[in-house]
């Protein structure tokens, strides 16, 4: 009786999860879809509890441990989710993800070291345990390194930029394979070796990857944690776990690919290339700037006052300076004066695709003002002023007109088509790609040097002096 009941509950949970993932890919339904998925998870827990009701009645002490574990994990998770700043979203996702991987790893370990009395390990069980341990370890250490790098706690050590890292990672993979072979032979001691080598492998693969590629890595690790969950499903014999894990694994892989396309990078080059900046690039990429025009905040304010149509291009620098609220005040002032303002969002703007939308939404920017690249590009010729805030590579015209540039082919915003372009930037340093930005050399581009938040604050004051401020 309970088994049939559990079957229907599992089926319901899987259906709701699938609908949840489906809904999460549309703006309108996303929030409900997220709740749906959460409900599905809760239902699945009820399913497990009902399915093993008999053994639960016999061993009341299991309840103590269940409540202890879930209360602690759930409480910490809730606190973290409430406290974390929106700008710190990528590292938070990485942290959560790592913990998911750790959980799969622990399950596999427990099953292998403390098997039920009457069971022996067949080939399939062993393989499942091995995959769960291997992928779980990589997910855990990889995610933690990704988080530490995004937080700025860790930077890439110099030797990691070197080719040596490939040798080390290949050696670690080889050790893992040896350990796996031993485990398949029925020995238990190699399990520790596998944990150590795959944990180090997770670190070794993630550590050399540059900041802007990190989201892709997190997305990939997210896919891995799905794989680890599916493997754990094989270990404990749960179909629900296998389906959910496989869904997350596959969806994560697709999402990773979509992100790579947005940056015109292949997954392989993200994983094995390290930071592009470290590889020598072609002759005309690292050219000197010859025609930089720098201007004052005052000039910028005067130009803005005369404009009718302004496009804001926010980038990574804006997120780092946490200037989105100040930016919103500036645009409010402009709108109050009848100036048309829209935001051009490049697919990989911010620290993670879609991250910029979240940050601007937090600063109360109306959703309708955020325009995607394909929509906004034809409109640049009719635009008076473009404000580029901490974005660099995504506005580099080289991607369109220099076939020898490493950026060539990457979709970019055609800001140079606008009448005037102001680039607010901390200095002349190159963007993430390490490539010269031809935009800065153009006659209609002026540079405003300084921290985005400070420059915008000054701009707000200047605008106020010109009588431009938000309507009360």
């Amino acid at each position: 009786m309970t088994l049939i009941f559990k079957f229907w509950i599992d089926l319901l949970a899987i259906l709701l999860l699938a609908l949840g993932i489906k809904g999460l890919s549309k703006v309108r339904s996303a929030r409900e879809a997220n709740r749906l998925a959460a409900t599905a998870m809760a239902i699945s827990v009820v399913g497990v509890l009902i399915g093993s009701f008999g053994s639960l009645v016999e061993s009341p002490e299991a309840w103590v441990w269940i409540i202890l574990g879930s209360a602690l994990g759930g409480f910490l998770g809730a606190i973290t989710a409430q406290r974390v700043a929106m700008t710190a979203m990528p590292e938070t996702v990485a942290l959560f993800n790592g913990c998911g991987g750790m959980s799969s790893l622990l399950v596999a370990l427990a099953v292998r070291f403390f098997p039920a009395t009457d069971s022996s390990f067949g080939f399939v069980e062993t393989i499942s345990i091995v995959i769960s341990v291997f992928v779980g370890s990589i997910t855990f250490t990889g995610s933690i390194v990704a988080m530490a790098k995004l937080k700025g706690w860790l930077s890439t050590p110099a030797w990691m930029q070197n080719k040596i890292r490939h040798v080390i990672n290949i050696a670690l993979s080889a050790i893992s394979l040896v350990a796996i072979a031993g485990l398949l032979g029925g020995s238990n001691s190699e399990l520790w070796l596998l944990i150590v080598s795959s944990s180090l492998l997770g670190i070794g693969v993630t550590l050399p990857i540059g900041g802007a590629d990190m989201p892709v890595v997190i997305s990939l690790l997210n896919s891995y944690s799905g794989v680890a969950a599916a493997a754990a499903g094989f270990v404990v014999g749960s179909q629900l776990l296998i389906v959910a894990g496989a869904m997350v694994g596959a969806a994560g892989l697709i999402l990773t690919k979509v992100m790579c396309n947005g940056m015109n990078r292949s997954l392989l080059s993200v994983l094995f290339g390290g930071a592009i900046g470290s590889t020598p690039s072609g002759g005309n990429d690292s050219g000197e700037y010859v025609n930089i025009t720098s201007c004052s905040v005052e000039e910028c304010a005067l130009t803005l006052e005369a404009a009718e149509r302004v496009v804001i291009v926010p980038g990574y620098g804006l997120a780092v300076a946490q200037a989105q609220h100040t930016l919103r005040e500036v645009t409010r002032a402009l709108e109050g004066n009848g100036i048309d303002v829209i935001y051009a969002i490049h697919p990989v703007a911010g620290r993670m695709p879609g991250h910029m939308n979240v940050l601007l939404a937090e600063a109360d920017v109306p959703y309708e003002q955020l325009k995607e690249m394909d929509v906004v590009n034809p409109e640049f010729p009719a635009t008076d002023v473009v404000l580029v805030l901490g974005a660099n590579d995504v506005v580099n015209p080289q991607a369109k007109n220099n076939p020898s540039s490493p950026l060539f082919g990457m979709p970019v915003l055609d800001v140079q088509e606008a009448r005037t372009v102001f680039v607010i930037k901390r200095g002349m340093s190159a963007g993430y790609s390490g490539i010269k930005n031809d935009l800065f050399d153009l006659a209609n581009t002026s540079m405003l040097f300084g921290d985005a938040k400070k420059v915008l604050g000054d701009l707000l004051l200047e605008l106020k002096e010109l009588g431009i401020s938000a309507k009360a």
Binding site: G20, I21, L24, S25, A30, R31, N34, A37, A38, M41, S59, A62, W65, S70, L72, G73, G74, L76, G77, A78, T92, V93, F96, N97, C99, S103, S104, L106, V107, L109, A110, F113, S219, N222, G226, A230, G233, V236, L240, L241, I242, V243, A244, A246, M247, V248, G249, A250, A251, G252, L255, M259, P353, G354, H355, N357, A361, Y367, L370, E372
Partner: protein, 96 residues
Amino acid sequence: MEFAEAFWVLLLGSLLGLELIGKVPPTLHTPLMSGANAISGITMLAALTLIITADGRTPLLIIGAVSLGFALFNVVGGFLVTDRMLAMFSRKSTRK
């Protein structure tokens, strides 16, 4: 569960995942990633099973509880943080 049966489940689940994420607007990449991430915390079911079938063996109970804690941290945190992000999209220009 038979291996063949489990393998079919794996295969169909993967296909479903590939099919579900067809065309995602870039706006939703971050929330989708974090939502999918929360779902991958489904290993909490395995941890739960581990505790239930522990049969009073203390090491299993402890590992199970720790594993359950990690998984729930992932699940609860993941869903809440996704909701926080998505809440920002839904409150539109109506709010001043």
